[in-house]
């Protein structure tokens, strides 16, 4: 389905500093994207330690949080994204 859609998947990963959980999430996300969503995604990593107002703006409570902003509907995943299959299911993107 994602293949049909012309718009790329826009993902925002919110982290707070370089904590083990944050680093694990970044690592896991990179792996998922390169293995399953090659060329069809845009990833932005936001460090809330530097920009706490964004947490308020986007309603972020837990760290790390991955937000799929596009395509709608918005989905949120919290945690270090250690289960690739679950992440893909929740992002509603398949290979």
């Amino acid at each position: 389905m994602a293949e049909d859609s012309k718009e790329p998947v826009k993902l925002v990963l919110y982290v707070a500093g370089e904590t083990p959980k944050s680093l694990a999430a970044i690592r896991n996300l990179e792996k998922i994207c390169s293995e399953h969503l090659a060329g069809k995604y845009k990833v932005e990593v936001v460090d809330l330690k530097k920009q706490p107002q964004l947490a308020r703006e986007h309603g972020i409570v837990a760290i790390p949080t991955l937000v799929k902003e596009l395509p709608v509907p918005i989905r949120k995943i919290i945690g270090d994204l250690s289960d690739t299959q679950k992440v893909l299911v929740h992002l509603s993107v398949e290979e």
Partner: protein, 565 residues
């Protein structure tokens, strides 16, 4: 606990007295209670007053309600939250989590929540924070182990930041909060309760724990109404009240006269007992009217009659209460005893007394409560009221409806009272007559008479009793006896007049007799004088005759003097 606890005032009426200053500064306080018991209101009042009265900005962290709703909710209580938000004194941080759009995959923490709170706190320089209610997080996240660790960290963080925090929690089964929040908050725990007994609800507040400070431990009733949240600590009252020397009129001159020196002492508690229709309320109104006439304020708490009805009824005995109501010297509050529970009534009354600051308070009637609650509770409540009024030097007038003519109240209040007026309504010879008796007046010598109590359009009068041979009489018996007495009097007066007449006549007769005798004596004396004169003349003539004879005989019978003639 090293050098005592500093406290932050909440500005909630009564609560700061209860806790001797407010909530512990820089520490979290848990406010728990079941749904709808006023937790959020307590928290928002704490925050609002902090920003407005004590210049301590605050952050309201809401996990449930939207900021617009919170602003609208407290707006009805006169809290201009929006204004404070505009002036950056309050910030509402809405933490909304919709579990349906969030998936949990792997390990996480709530660092973003901390960052948001920190950001909000730093933004306005907050000293106070409210978390309402953090337990919502448990429904938003599925891993309780992480949550518990994070909440513990959150409370540590709050303490570290030195924020005076109020955390609300929903009451759970067998524990103070559903999620056991009390294990994290160990400094101060306040329990709000909302109970319904006999279909009457009562809100109560209890300080379960307040580490490092003395505090009241009872359950205290509290109110939520158009004026917000108020707690009424009303139990710790002693007998060290001030005593007044001046007397105040009862509004009935005849009654004042029965109390030597005119009226009761200021600050007395006066009980008016009587059967139905014996004039208790009217007498109480007269006292209130008298207070207003002295330029004082009177508070009339009625549990049976409405304001308009009392005003109308009092007009019929020549007392215009409407005037005082208009001038604001009299405040009339009517509420059925069943409107609230006893504590709520007490709380309401004390608050009204506090605000209106009257010199005289009327409770009409206290017997209305005995129907709606346990006697012991009623007694406690009245005791508190009496103590409270006494300690504030407020004269209290209580009316009590007695079912029988007895010198005893159901509420067992008699010994608390300084003055006790018994109003009787006695049947004699086919008619009922109102009577008044001063059963007790502490420190005042008073009449022991039972007076007839008459209400007319010129007010209340106490008639002098008819004290005949058959005892004191009232009503038509008195009138009859008086008439009889008047008749007897007239008869006696007539008798006196008659006797007087007799005496006068006799005196007149006696005088006439005296005069006659005098005249007789005078006549006799006159006769006597005439005889004496005649005798003298005779003697004279006889002497002259003898002399002439002697001269004729040439005999000088007379002396030389005669010769010389």
């Amino acid at each position: 606990m090293t050098d005592g606890i500093t406290k932050s005032a909440t500005g909630i009426e009564g609560f700061d007295d209860l806790t001797l200053g407010g909530l512990p500064t820089g520490r979290p306080t848990l406010v728990c209670g079941s749904a709808g018991c006023g937790k959020t209101l307590f928290a928002s009042t704490f925050l609002f007053n902090g920003a407005k009265l004590y210049d301590e900005p605050g952050v309201f962290v809401t996990f449930e309600e939207r900021p617009v709703d919170i602003i609208a909710n407290v707006d009805s209580l006169g809290f201009d939250l929006q204004g404070l938000i505009d002036r950056s004194q309050i910030h509402i941080e809405h933490i909304a989590i919709d579990p349906s759009e969030v998936a949990e995959i792997g390990d996480y923490d709530l660092e973003a929540l901390f960052l948001r709170l920190e950001f909000a706190v730093d933004q306005i320089g907050a000293k106070r924070i409210v978390l309402d209610t953090i337990e919502s997080l448990f429904s938003a996240f599925s891993n309780p182990a992480i949550l518990r660790a994070e909440i513990r960290r959150l409370f540590d963080w709050l303490k570290q930041k030195g924020l005076t925090a109020v955390i609300t929690g929903e009451r759970g089964d067998g524990s103070l909060t559903r999620q056991g929040l009390e294990e994290y908050v160990s400094d101060c725990v306040i329990l709000l309760d909302h109970r319904v007994d006999n279909q009457i609800s009562t809100r109560r507040l209890r300080i379960v724990k307040y580490r490092g400070t003395a505090h009241g431990t009872n359950e205290y009733p509290f109110l939520i109404d158009e004026d917000g949240f108020s707690v009424l600590p009303v139990s710790s009252l002693g007998l060290g009240h001030k005593v007044y020397e001046d007397r105040i009129s009862t509004g009935v001159p005849d009654l004042d006269a029965m109390l030597t020196g005119g009226g009761f002492y200021r600050g007395s508690s006066i009980l008016l007992t009587g059967v139905a229709g014996s004039g208790k309320s009217s007498l109480a109104c007269m006292m209130a009217d008298a207070a207003c006439k002295r330029g004082e304020r009177a508070l009339y708490l009625s549990f049976e009659e409405s304001e308009a009805q009392t005003v109308r009824n009092m007009k019929s005995i020549g007392t215009d209460l409407a005037k005082w109501l208009k001038l604001g010297q009299l405040r009339y509050i009517a509420a059925r005893p069943t409107f609230y529970s006893l504590e709520m009534h007490l709380a309401m009354m004390l608050r009204e007394i506090n605000r209106f600051k009257p010199q005289l308070v009327v409770l009409d009637p206290i017997s209305a409560f005995t129907g709606s609650a346990d006697i012991a509770e009623v007694q406690t409540m009245l005791l508190r009221i009496v103590d409270y009024l006494k300690s504030n030097g407020i004269t209290a007038v209580f009316t009590h409806l007695a079912s029988v003519q007895q010198a005893e109240t159901d509420a067992g209040l008699s010994s608390l009272m300084d003055g006790w007026i018994l109003l009787l309504n006695r049947e004699a010879n086919g008619e009922f007559n109102r009577e008044l008796y001063l059963l007790k007046a502490r420190g005042i010598s008073h009449s022991n008479q039972v007076r007839e109590f008459v209400m007319s359009n010129s007010g209340i009068h106490l008639l002098e009793p008819y004290l005949g041979e058959d005892g004191a009489l009232t009503g038509s018996a008195r009138r009859n006896a008086e008439a009889r007495a008047r008749r007897a009097e007239t008869e006696r007066q007539a008798e006196v007049a008659r006797v007087q007449d007799q005496v006068t006549q006799r005196r007149r007769r006696a005088r006439a007799q005296i005069e006659a005798l005098n005249a007789e004596i005078e006549a006799e004396e006159a006769e006597l004088r005439r005889l004496v004169t005649a005798e003298e003349i005779y003697q004279q003539q006889s002497r002259e005759k003898t002399a002439a004879v002697a001269r004729g005989r040439g005999m000088n019978l007379s002396t030389g003097t005669r010769k010389q003639d």
